[in-house]
Symmetry: C3
Subunit: 131 residues, 3 copies
């Protein structure tokens, strides 16, 4: 598998991984198969969404913070229970289809890393598999 | 990969894809492997849930609309930020297990397309892979 | 595929499957590939999160119950619509990467079964695939 290194700069942040994932698929030489994008952290996640209008990212971050606020009656003492919970809702792994050597994305789709407890040094794992 | 064409008729709607996906797996001739069901849109998603009682679908739609209402203080101007956010929560892709040439589903499970910003013409991509 | 048998004891409960999944990957003999962990039920789900501090699990359960309460204006009469909705949000399936014969997990990650309508006898399906 390949690793994408990420450095986040805010507590909550959505980082575009699309070109990195596209490039890993290209370098893999796999023509037909799948591509698994996996987040090995417990307070961040992987999402697919619009990569055109940046206000979409801000709306996602704001609404997630409203649904699962940082400060609530949590028992975990590290002040990041909200990030753990958002991670469970968003999920750590998305499987993509690869065809003709290309990561198959919809017209408006990008692949994103969703930071929930930054700023931190993070990584995302990518596995391309022929089949 | 195969494509399933979908025409939604409401803004929010849950469309049963189970028989289409089962049929694609069957036609693929794959005996053992996986099946990736992937949504290429940014305001709709893929879910697995009960395909017996239709009130479940209605409860899912209603509660999602309550958690992420269409009208709120969003910055994105297309009036569909709610659909983008629900898409991030539900997710664009589910990987199923294929055994003995059959899509492995639990007794009550169906595969569903979750429209968040219809009515629209949509498609879902399906990749069956032996292994 | 392999099956993990689970017996839950409460209505909402998070059960650690990590050692079972690790052991299935080990026994499969697969060196490089993927591992699909799949929940065949419609009122439970699969999640990855912290397996160190048990208060994280409790915070996840409590906040999910707040976001999607058991009693609300639901139409489905089995009094478990909340569990169906949480299942749609969390998701039934996570795909992991396998390398050097090992399930690749982040330092703090565990694989969890999220019961939403227990106590029940459940199972989780695991498919390891080389590639």
């Amino acid at each position: 598998m390949e690793k994408i290194a990420i450095k986040t700069t805010k507590r909550m942040e959505i980082v575009d991984l699309t070109s990195s994932v596209v490039s890993i698929v290209h370098k893999s030489g796999v023509k037909d198969g799948i591509c698994v994008v996996y987040c090995p952290h417990t307070t961040s996640a992987i999402a697919v969404n619009e990569n055109a209008d940046p206000t979409v990212k801000q709306d996602i971050i704001n609404k997630l913070a409203e649904i699962v606020p940082q400060n609530a009656n949590y028992r975990h003492l590290e002040k990041n229970s909200d990030a753990h919970i958002k991670n469970v809702l968003i999920g750590p792994s998305i499987t993509f289809i690869v065809e003709n050597g290309k990561l198959e994305l919809g017209t408006w789709q990008g692949v994103f890393f969703v930071e929930g407890d930054g700023p931190r040094t993070r990584e995302v794992w990518v596995k391309v598999m022929a089949g």
